[in-house]
């Protein structure tokens, strides 16, 4: 009986060894085959991952079945795998969060490829919405990667969602100005600019009495595509119109008052005297 037991054990060991060797050979063949298949379409980095990944996973599979042949209890291995999963889970928290944020962004669609968005202080055109991040191209042609997580958590502005956009122009006019005249001049300037939309009508808001000037806000609407052109042209036209109509945009002003009521002596120098 001992002999038969020993014989059976030897058989098991032989079987295990055969399975292991077969696994090794198969793993080598499979990894080589997969690498050749992905050869043209993957980068060197990805090829290495494919090669190593396929090799070790197939080898592991055959080794596990070889061990099973030898009679090892696989429960222990499973337990170890469970603990490993928890450890990996903790480590990949951020990546998992980015992945899930990405899925939510895809479903919500606050922006699409080609839109211009502003996140914090970065403004750029969306190049791609990937699994873990969104790629932007800023207007000075720099590449920015924004993790999806920060897009879900923080405020994001989509500058190209709606077809028209309002331009707010803050102005200050001198205290002696006739407000009706200022209003009429601004409205006429907006009307004569063809890029400035007639509807919605330009807005004139009297903001308040400032330190050096009366503060007003003049808002005009433009099509999104011609916004920049309008901004440049209307500011120039307002300046020209104000100069023509005699409306003053004052420099910061200070009024000097002398204590004690004494007069300050001022000497006026003759221009011709100065030349000598």
């Amino acid at each position: 009986m001992l002999e038969s037991l020993g014989g059976e054990f030897t058989l098991q060991v032989l079987r295990a060894v055969v399975i292991a060797i077969a696994g090794l050979v198969l793993a080598k063949l499979a990894s080589a085959g997969l690498t050749r298949l992905a050869g043209k379409r993957a980068t060197a980095h990805q090829l290495m991952l494919v090669h190593r990944g396929s090799f070790y996973s197939i080898l592991a599979l055959f080794l596990v079945s070889a061990l099973h042949q030898l009679g090892f209890n696989l429960g222990v291995l499973l337990g170890a795998a469970g603990i490993l999963t928890v450890a990996i889970g903790f480590a990949s928290q951020t990546s998992a969060s980015n992945l899930i944020s990405g899925l939510f962004l895809l479903a919500e669609k606050p922006f699409g490829i080609g839109d211009t968005i502003r996140v914090g202080t970065t403004t750029g055109e969306v190049l791609s919405v990937d699994l873990l991040s969104v790629k932007l191209r800023t207007f000075d042609n720099l590449y920015v990667r924004i993790p999806n997580e920060s897009l879900i958590k923080a405020e994001m502005t989509n500058l190209t969602k709606f077809p028209i956009r309002r331009l707010d122009i803050p102005l200050g006019v001198a205290y002696g100005s006739d407000m009706e005249h200022v209003h009429a001049t601004l409205v006429k300037t907006a009307e004569s600019n063809p890029l400035c939309l007639e509807e919605p009508q330009p807005l004139f808001i009297f903001l308040g009495f400032g330190d050096s000037s009366i503060n007003i806000q003049f808002s005009v609407w433009a099509q999104r595509e011609t916004f920049l052109t309008l901004r440049n042209s209307i500011l120039q036209e307002i300046k020209i119109a104000f100069e023509r109509e005699g409306i003053d945009i004052p420099f910061p002003q200070r009024t000097l008052g002398l204590l004690g009521g004494e007069a300050l002596p001022v000497r006026i120098q003759d221009a011709t005297a100065r030349q000598e």
């Binding site: 709606f162 077809p163 063809p194 890029l195 939309l197 007639e198 509807e199 919605p200 433009a222 099509q223």
Partner: protein
């Protein structure tokens, strides 16, 4: 060269559209509305120079006259068109606007319940330049630069249109004879029991046909706005035949776009905003 003027006793319009054969080193100078245009041919090359003013600078008469070769520096815009073989004939044709035209009556008016009226609204035309056989399109120029405007239910949805003002004349004899604006008769019917206030009317210019009558005035098809009882919306319909105010109407150009019914329903929902 064609430049026809019919004598019918009523004030007639000088027609600027038609075919023009241009010999070498001779320019064709056109003043259509506030568009100043100069077209000349140099061998197999065509030179087009133009300037567009605003609505204020539009004159009432339009004409195309031959002139000696022009210097394009006198104009704000110039373009050259190069061909392999010389083409000798220039075709000028009027077209309607490429976007809907929102007309604001200079004095807004109200239509009491049960009333109906016909008003005439005009919109500026575009000049299409084509040369040779087969016709090669050179350019399309507006007779005046109209201001952009937005027409829609909100700032989020709507479409970009042109804005113009209209005197909303009600009688044919009041219409000035102008060859650079196309007149659209608009019939408005208010069948509801509240007055209808009109301070903005959107003409679906890209969907209308352009005709000229025996006098040389430009017309489009008539459109009808019908506001039914108990509803804020009104039905817009476009007649298929030339307007009856245009005697001897001849088709000049087809609509730029053809629309399904749904787009018209959408168009007037916002018409009375």
């Amino acid at each position: 060269m064609e430049n026809s003027k019919l004598q019918t006793g009523v004030e007639d319009v000088t027609r600027w559209w038609g075919d023009y054969r241009l010999p070498e080193a001779q320019a064709l100078r056109c003043e259509i509305g506030s568009l100043r245009l100069s077209v000349q041919r140099r061998g197999d090359e065509w030179l087009v120079a133009w300037e567009t003013g605003s609505e204020m600078s539009a004159g009432t008469s339009s004409a195309c006259t031959p002139a000696a070769a022009d210097s394009p520096e006198a104009y704000a815009n110039t373009e050259r068109y190069l061909f392999q073989t010389p083409r000798e004939t220039l075709y000028l044709r009027p077209l309607l606007a490429d976007r809907p035209v929102v007309s604001r009556p200079t004095v807004p008016f109200q239509l009491p319940p049960g009333e109906e009226t016909v008003i005439f609204i005009s919109s500026p035309v575009w000049v299409k330049l084509e040369v040779g056989e087969p016709r090669a399109a050179l350019n399309e120029l507006p007779v005046q630069r109209l201001s952009d405007t937005w027409f829609g239910a909100s700032t989020r949805e709507g479409e970009l249109c042109y804005a113009t003002q209209t005197a909303a004349r009600r009688f044919l004899h009041e219409l000035p004879a102008r060859a650079h604006r196309a007149v659209t008769p608009v019939q408005i019917r208010n069948r509801a029991d509240t007055p209808l206030r009109l301070d903005r009317i959107s003409l679906p210019a890209p969907y209308l046909r352009l005709y000229h009558d025996a006098r040389g005035m430009l017309w489009t098809q008539a459109i009808t706005l019908r506001r039914e009882e108990g509803s804020d919306l009104a039905a817009l319909s476009v007649e298929q035949t030339p307007p009856r105010e245009a005697d001897g109407a001849v088709l000049l150009s087809e609509p730029r776009r053809t629309a399904g019914k749904s787009s018209f329903v959408r168009a007037f929902g916002a018409l009375f905003s």
